[in-house]
Amino acid sequence: MKTPLSTNRLNISFGGLKLKNPTALASGILGYSAESLQRIVEGGAGAVVTKSVGATPRTGYANPTVVQAKCGLINAIGLPNPGIDEYAEEIGYAKTVLTVPLIVSVFGYSADEYALVAKKAVKAGADAVELNVSCPHVTQTGSEIGQNPKLLAEVVAKVKASVQKPVIVKLSPNVTDIVEMAKVAAKAGADVLTAINTVKAMAINVETALPVLSNVKGGLSGPAIKPIALRCVYDIYEKVKTPVIGCGGITDWRDAVEFFLAGASAVQIGTAIALKNYSVFKDINRGVDAYLKKKGFGSVKEIVGLSHLS
C-alpha cells in the first residue's frame, strides 16, 4: 500500500504558517491562474507561491527567456504580471478553490510599493506574502533591494507594518554573505526566510557569438544550484532564529531531506516540475515520510537542523 499523501509526520507549523506537508510551489513557476495553482495542489503541494506581482502590469522580456544549461535552467522572464489590481481578483478566486495556504509573491520599486502590493494581496485573500527581493534580472527591484541592507530593512519593515499576515523574505544568493542579509531581514521583522532565489548566470551561443537570453543575463535554477542553496540554508540556520524555507534544485525526497537536515522547515520546488511534472510533490512527500518512519521520527520537525554538529 502506498503511503498516504499527508500523514501527521509531515505536518509542520512555523512563522505563522501551518502546512499539511513541507513542500510548496516556488514563485515564478506557473502560478498565474487559480486553476494552475489547483493542479499543483492536486500534485501534492502543501502550499503555493504565486508568480511575483507588482503595482502595475509588466510584460516581461522578449524570448528567448529560458535556456537549458547542463544541470539546470537559466531564465530571464522579466516578472511579467498583470498588476495587483487585476490580479487581486484571481487571488480572491484562488482562495475559494485552494485547500492549502496561498502565498502571494510581491515586488516593487520602493518600500512603499512593496507595502501597497502586499496590503492589496492580503486584502484579496493571501494567507502570507513572500517578498521578492532577489530576482536577479530586473533593475531597481528584486536583488537590487536584497543586496542592499538598508533598502532590504526598509522594505521588510514597511511591509510588516502594513499587513497582519506572515511576511516571508526570499533571499538572493548573489551577495557576499547571505547570512548578513538574513540577519537584516530577520531584524526588520521577517517571519520566515526563503533561501535561495536563482543564481545570476548567462549562456552564450558559440555559433552566433551572441548571449542567448534577450536580457543577456538571467538566473540559474535546478540541480546545478542545489549544493549552493543547501549551504546557504545551513549557514543561515546557524546564525538566525527565523525559520527558513529551502529552495534551489530540489528534485527528489533525498534533496528535501538534506534541506531539512540543514535547517529548512519546508522546501519550495519549481524547476523539478519540468523534469517530473506535478506529481513531484507527492513523490517527495512519500519519500520524506518513509524516511521519517524508517528512522523512527514522529515529525519532520524533529529533523530540522539535525545535521548541525554543535
Binding site: 510584460t59 537549458q68 487585476e86
Partner: protein, 272 residues
C-alpha cells in the same frame, strides 16, 4: 504525458537548408536537426531567430534528419524569418508537446490558414492506414489556401473542400460552413482540426453535438515551452506540455476560454 528531455530542450544552432514560398505570406523553412527530425504530427518546436525572438511553430514535416515549419509573416519575428535564406543560422529546441493520436477509421481534417500544416503532416502518416481521409480547408483568399495540391493527392474520394472568405476560390464562406452538410452526409470516426481558435471552437461544437471524437491543436503565447512559466495556460492545461493537442473532453473543460480569451504578455486576460 509528454516526457521532458533536457537534451531536446538544449538550444541547437543549425543552418537553413531551404526556403519554399507557399503563398504571398507563407514560407516553409527546412533545417537539419536530429531531435526534431523525430517529431510526431502535432508537436511543435521553438525557433530562435538570433537578435530578434524565439517563437513556437507547429511542425509541418519531419524525417531524414530534417524538420520543416510553415511560417506566416505576421509580426516582427516572423517577418525577420521571412527575410532569411538558406545557409543562414537559426536556433532550434524541441520537439515539444504531445501529438495527435492516430485514428484509422473515417477521418475528417479541418484546417484554417497555417493551421493546415500539422494536419498535412498527420495526413501523410495516416494516408496508408486510415480507411478514408477528407479535408476542409479555409483561408481569407485563394493565394492563402495552403497545401491544397498535397491534400488533394491524399484524399480518398472527393477532393479537398476549399473555402475562401472573399470567394476567390472554392466556396465563399468560412471553413466551418460546409462542415454541417458533410457531417450529415458521411460518417466520420474522428475529426482533427487546427487553425484560428473561433474556427476550432465551432468545429469542436459541431463534433460535440454529433458525438464525433475530435482532437484540436491549440496555439498560445509561449515562453519556456516545457511547462514551467505558465504563459500558455488554458484552464488547468498548459498548451506547451499538456497539449498542444487536446481532445473533446479536455476542450469541454476549457469552454470558458476556448475561442474567447488567452493570457497576454503580462499574464492578464485578453481576447483570442
Amino acid at each position: 504525458m509528454s516526457v521532458y528531455l533536457t537534451s531536446a530542450n538544449t538550444l541547437r544552432t543549425t543552418r537553413i537548408l531551404s526556403v519554399k514560398t507557399e503563398s504571398p505570406t507563407v514560407k516553409t523553412f527546412t533545417v537539419k536537426d536530429k531531435f526534431c527530425a523525430k517529431a510526431k504530427p502535432g508537436q511543435f518546436l521553438m525557433l530562435w531567430i538570433p537578435r530578434v525572438d524565439e517563437i513556437p511553430l507547429s511542425i509541418l514535416n519531419a524525417g531524414a534528419g530534417k524538420v520543416s515549419v510553415a511560417v506566416k509573416a505576421v509580426g516582427e519575428a516572423t517577418k525577420a524569418l521571412h527575410g532569411m535564406k538558406s545557409g543562414d543560422t537559426i536556433g532550434v529546441r524541441g520537439p515539444f508537446g504531445n501529438s495527435f493520436t492516430e485514428n484509422r477509421g473515417g477521418i475528417l481534417m479541418v484546417g484554417g490558414g497555417t493551421g493546415t500544416a500539422p494536419l498535412l503532416f498527420l495526413a501523410k502518416k495516416l494516408a496508408a492506414k486510415a480507411e478514408r481521409l477528407s479535408f476542409v480547408i479555409g483561408a481569407k483568399t485563394k493565394n492563402e489556401l495552403l497545401f491544397l495540391n498535397e491534400l488533394d493527392a491524399l484524399c480518398s474520394e472527393q477532393s479537398a473542400i476549399a473555402t475562401t472568405e472573399d470567394g476567390s476560390y472554392g466556396m465563399k464562406c468560412l471553413a466551418t460552413e460546409p462542415l454541417e452538410k458533410l457531417l450529415d452526409e458521411e460518417k466520420f470516426d474522428m475529426i482533427y482540426t487546427c487553425g484560428p481558435e473561433p474556427m476550432v471552437r465551432k468545429v469542436f461544437e459541431l463534433a460535440e453535438q454529433r458525438r464525433i471524437a475530435l482532437e484540436a491543436s491549440l496555439e498560445r503565447l509561449m515562453r519556456c515551452g516545457i511547462g514551467l512559466c505558465g504563459s500558455c495556460v488554458i484552464g488547468k492545461y498548459r498548451v506547451c506540455r499538456d497539449g498542444p493537442v487536446f481532445n473533446a473532453a479536455q476542450l469541454s473543460e476549457v469552454k470558458d476560454e476556448l475561442g474567447i480569451s488567452k493570457l497576454g504578455f503580462d499574464g492578464g486576460r485578453i481576447p483570442v
